[in-house]
């Protein structure tokens, strides 16, 4: 039953892609996409509840169970909140394909398969960017960064399969760093978020497949020097991106830097060397994925209503679109640790996890988070307040309300009662070490 459920959870979006592609209008394609993602989400929830332990796709030790639910929710947000403006039916098909590959990615362990899926997830994105004249330049930038990233992943996976574990660490770390927009391989990212359809951005970026690849392929194989370097680079990325985000004029570019800053947080946490820091990183992964997906799609929804969003020109429509504005504020603040949301819990764990080995880096994290919160609030004031004129925008539709409501409610409920989510995730944070110790000697290094 459960291996079948795992198969269905990524086959359904792929099937949905085929049907969506053929639809004559974007709205119909979006309906098909929503139905397939809802079905995939239902199957993923079932699989997570029953427990995925079949031989076809063995459970991934060291990662939180139910990751496919996480990816499915992101996929649902990406399609359900996608405005139809500027999209083709094929666009929604490609978004579903990216999501299908991401779903398969988090169910797999073999390094070669992981590398293949890593590359496969970038292909529909590149094709979509190439298909529109206004994003063709973006496709070139994307290719310039993703080709080396994929090549490094394939090389690293090959070395790992050949038991050259120490040699494989560097190409794998570099390949993941490019994908996760870590300094200095980051320039493609704000550009991509600014220009590409937001649903595509979310489907590709929000699941942070690099984190999963890190957990599956890099944990326990990194030499200590590389561990320190990754932690330091993670913090520098957090600070750089947070600072850049505060000075942006374009709302989309500000979101891009925010997302980049959050991925730096996760990279840092994974290498603090403490179970607490790792747990903070895993919870930050989940919080960032959900909150950034919701925040970015909220901005896309506003952009579809209003046109290009300029943070230097006041928007002034809070009175008319209060729910959209409130969703933006809550999702944004959840990502930067607003007390009462799960973001506060993950930030607390990250900071506590860093005090022993990296207290100075922990202090830098605190600065980055403060700057990110300024970006969020500045964006809120600029986009929704400051003017009496109103462009006739409508507030959230029922569809948008439902999806954003689920995201906000999840972040608030888990923020006030975090135990269940933490128990779920802490098992993964500590199980990597336990799983490695439990295996026979020959297999230990390949986990």
């Amino acid at each position: 039953m459960t291996p079948l459920a795992d198969l269905l959870s990524f086959a359904l979006p792929a099937l949905g892609a085929v049907f969506a592609w053929r639809k004559p209008s974007v709205a119909q394609a979006r309906t098909v996409a929503i139905v397939s993602m809802l079905a995939s989400l239902a199957v993923a929830v079932l699989s997570a509840v029953v427990g995925s332990a079949g031989p076809l796709l063995p459970a991934a030790a060291g990662v939180p169970a139910g990751l496919s639910v996480f990816v499915a929710v992101i996929g649902l947000a990406a399609v359900a909140l996608s405005p139809t403006r500027g999209l083709q039916p094929a666009s929604l098909g490609r978004i579903l394909l990216v999501n299908a590959v991401s779903m398969a990615f988090v169910l797999v362990r073999d390094p070669r398969l992981l590398a293949a899926l890593f590359c496969a997830s970038a292909l529909p994105v590149w094709l979509e960017l190439r298909s529109q004249p206004e994003t063709r330049a973006t496709s070139r930038v994307f290719a310039w960064y993703m080709l080396p990233s994929c090549a490094l992943m394939v090389a690293g996976a090959g070395m790992q399969s050949a038991q050259m574990l120490t040699a494989a660490a560097l190409p794998l770390a570099a390949g993941i760093a490019i994908r996760e927009a870590t300094l200095p391989f980051h320039s493609w990212f704000p550009h991509f978020v600014q220009r590409a359809p937001m649903g595509l951005v979310i489907a590709f970026v929000a699941p942070q497949l690099g984190v999963y690849a890190h957990l599956r392929m890099l944990s326990d194989t990194l030499p200590p020097e590389l561990t320190h370097a990754i932690a330091a680079v993670g913090v520098v990325t957090v600070l750089f991106a947070a600072a850049m985000g505060t000075a942006q004029r374009s709302a989309r570019r500000a979101i891009g830097y925010l997302m980049m800053s959050q991925t730096g947080l996760v990279a840092f946490g994974l290498e603090t060397g403490s179970g607490l820091g790792r747990l903070g990183a895993l919870t930050a992964w989940l919080v960032c994925g959900l909150s950034m997906a919701g925040l970015a799609m909220t901005v896309a929804a506003l952009e579809a209503r209003r046109g290009q969003l300029d943070l230097d020109r006041p928007g002034g429509s809070f009175r008319h679109i209060p729910r959209l504005a409130t969703a933006y504020l809550l999702l944004g603040l959840a990502s930067v640790g607003l007390p009462g949301t799960f973001g506060f819990v993950s930030e607390e764990l990250l900071v506590q996890g860093s005090v022993e080995r990296f207290p100075v880096l922990g202090l830098a994290l605190v600065v980055g988070t403060a700057l990110n919160s300024i970006t969020i609030v500045r964006g809120f004031f600029a986009l929704f307040t400051g003017a009496r004129t109103h462009g006739g925008e409508r507030d959230l539709t029922l569809r948008e309300h439902a999806v954003l409501g689920v995201l906000v409610a999840t972040l608030l409920v888990t923020g006030l009662w975090p135990r269940t989510m933490l128990d779920h995730t802490s098992h993964a944070a500590h199980s990597t070490e336990a799983a490695v110790e439990a295996l026979p000697a020959g297999e230990a290094t390949s986990t």
Partner: protein, 457 residues
């Protein structure tokens, strides 16, 4: 048994506002919105109940002679050996501040029910007022710096959102952003202090030292660490309490509705800085450098605010500077090692300033009453200073006071402005690099509408 129930009564100060917040939040999210009367009654009852609970606790503590009681509710969450304990410390400082908070919030809620009647943002005001009230109770009753931080951040957010209450005008929104940026810049001090305390002592929980009546932070062993933590907490207090040179947001915050100005900048939010420093008293005692910094900052602020307050032409700005002056003096008292006097000063100042700010809209009316009672014009104040200061110097000093000591301009232009210009230059370089890779022409895809002068940065 009685002590047990008296402690639980204190929890009403937290539980009732939390329940009110949940009720107002659900009401706002649902199609069946509660009316004005229901909202004001929910909030009023919540804080009245909280105040009564605290009175019961205080009475029982006085009866039994206990100076400190701790109420522990277990861990909010725990991972292995690490947990986030939810514990509340009931001592003279926390119970007094919590009672002050509950009473003043309830009074302002009652006032606002009429003052904001049929205002467009009535529901929003009461929701944010409840967030403030809850935040203050968490901050003053919490027995660790983490719980204080929890409440502190809620207070900061609600403060900024209420300054921007009249959200259709650009000035309140700009001022709200300035206040929020100041808060966050200074919250870094509080967060960093938490990190450093955990790194050095392993905990940021309050403990009762021998011979002390109140709980406080245990200082680290090393003198450098103590001084560092003390200075970080001083920095945190400076932002929240609008101390020089970071106080420019306070007069601008008067753009918010009068009741919110009263409760935030007359009563509660502005006194959270001195409260934090009173909790850090053991650290200030062990670090003369930090104590001196607190006293110097407070003294300079008192002088600056007195000076600048003299040239204000509207009552709320004048009261804002008066508030800043008194908080500066409170910080001087704390820096000099006094403990009970600052607490009494806080309570007295909060009460008087709240009254003055709530009466501010009726200023002219009150003036007429006074003049009718006196039978003549009210005498001007400050004439003795004009006789002492040379007449040649007066226009220069007047100009300096109008410009608020140039602190705001220096911060905007040379600190924030320089940073923003540098970051935008870096961003232009990034965009040129991606244009090169993408083989596109050099036009930027940034919004091409020129930014209005002085718009949100």
């Amino acid at each position: 048994m009685i002590e047990h129930w008296a402690c639980i009564a204190a929890l009403a100060a937290l539980a009732l506002p939390a329940a009110a917040l949940a009720a107002l939040g659900l009401s706002a999210a649902s199609p069946w919105r509660a009316g004005e009367r229901a909202q004001s009654r929910i909030v009023g009852l919540a804080f009245t109940g909280g105040a009564l609970g605290l009175v019961v606790t205080a009475a029982d503590m006085l009866r039994s002679g206990d100076r400190v009681r701790t109420l522990s509710l277990g861990d909010w969450f725990s991972v292995g050996h690490h947990g986030f304990p939810v514990a509340f410390a009931l001592d003279g400082l926390s119970v007094s501040m919590a009672l002050l908070g509950a009473v003043l919030t309830g009074l302002v809620a009652a006032f606002s029910a009429r003052y904001l009647h049929r205002e467009r943002g009535f529901g929003r005001f009461f929701l944010l007022l409840t967030v403030l009230g809850l935040g203050v109770q968490l901050a003053v009753l919490g027995s660790s710096l983490e719980l204080l931080l929890f409440g502190w951040e809620l207070v900061g957010l609600s403060s900024a959102l209420l300054i921007a209450y009249f959200d259709e005008r650009i000035e309140p929104v700009r001022n709200a952003l300035r206040a929020y940026m100041t808060y966050r810049a200074c919250d870094i001090g509080l967060l960093a202090a938490v990190v450093w305390l955990h790194h050095t002592t392993g905990t940021a929980a309050f403990a009762q030292a021998p011979q002390e009546s109140w709980v406080g932070l245990a200082p680290p062993a090393s003198a450098t660490d103590v001084a560092l933590v003390g200075l970080l907490l001083c920095w945190a207090a400076m932002g929240k309490s609008a101390q020089v040179p970071l106080g420019g947001w306070l007069p601008r915050a008067m753009e918010g509705p009068t009741p919110s100005s009263a409760i935030f900048y007359g009563a509660l939010s502005i006194h959270l800085g001195p409260y934090l420093l009173l909790r850090a008293a053991p650290i200030l005692d062990a670090a003369p450098v930090a104590a001196a910094a607190v006293a110097v900052v407070g003294g300079l602020t008192a002088l600056h605010a007195t000076f600048v307050g003299r040239v204000q032409t509207d009552i709320k700005s004048a009261l804002a500077y008066a508030s800043m002056t008194q908080v500066g003096i409170i910080l001087v008292e704390i820096g000099l090692g006094l403990r009970l006097l600052p607490l009494l000063h806080i309570i007295g100042h909060a009460s008087v300033r709240t009254l003055q700010l709530l009466r501010a809209p009726s200023l002219l009316h009150d003036h007429h009453h006074l003049e009718q009672a006196m039978g003549s014009e009210l005498p001007r104040s400050g004439g003795h200073l004009e006789r002492l200061v040379p007449s040649g110097l007066q226009p220069w000093l007047y100009r300096l006071a109008l410009e608020r000591g140039y602190f705001d301009a220096l911060l905007s232009e040379y600190v924030v402005g320089s940073a923003v210009r540098f970051l935008r230059q870096v961003d232009r370089l990034e965009q040129r690099w991606t244009s090169l890779l993408g083989q596109e022409s050099q036009e930027s895809h940034e919004p091409s509408v020129p930014a209005p002068k002085g718009a949100n940065r």
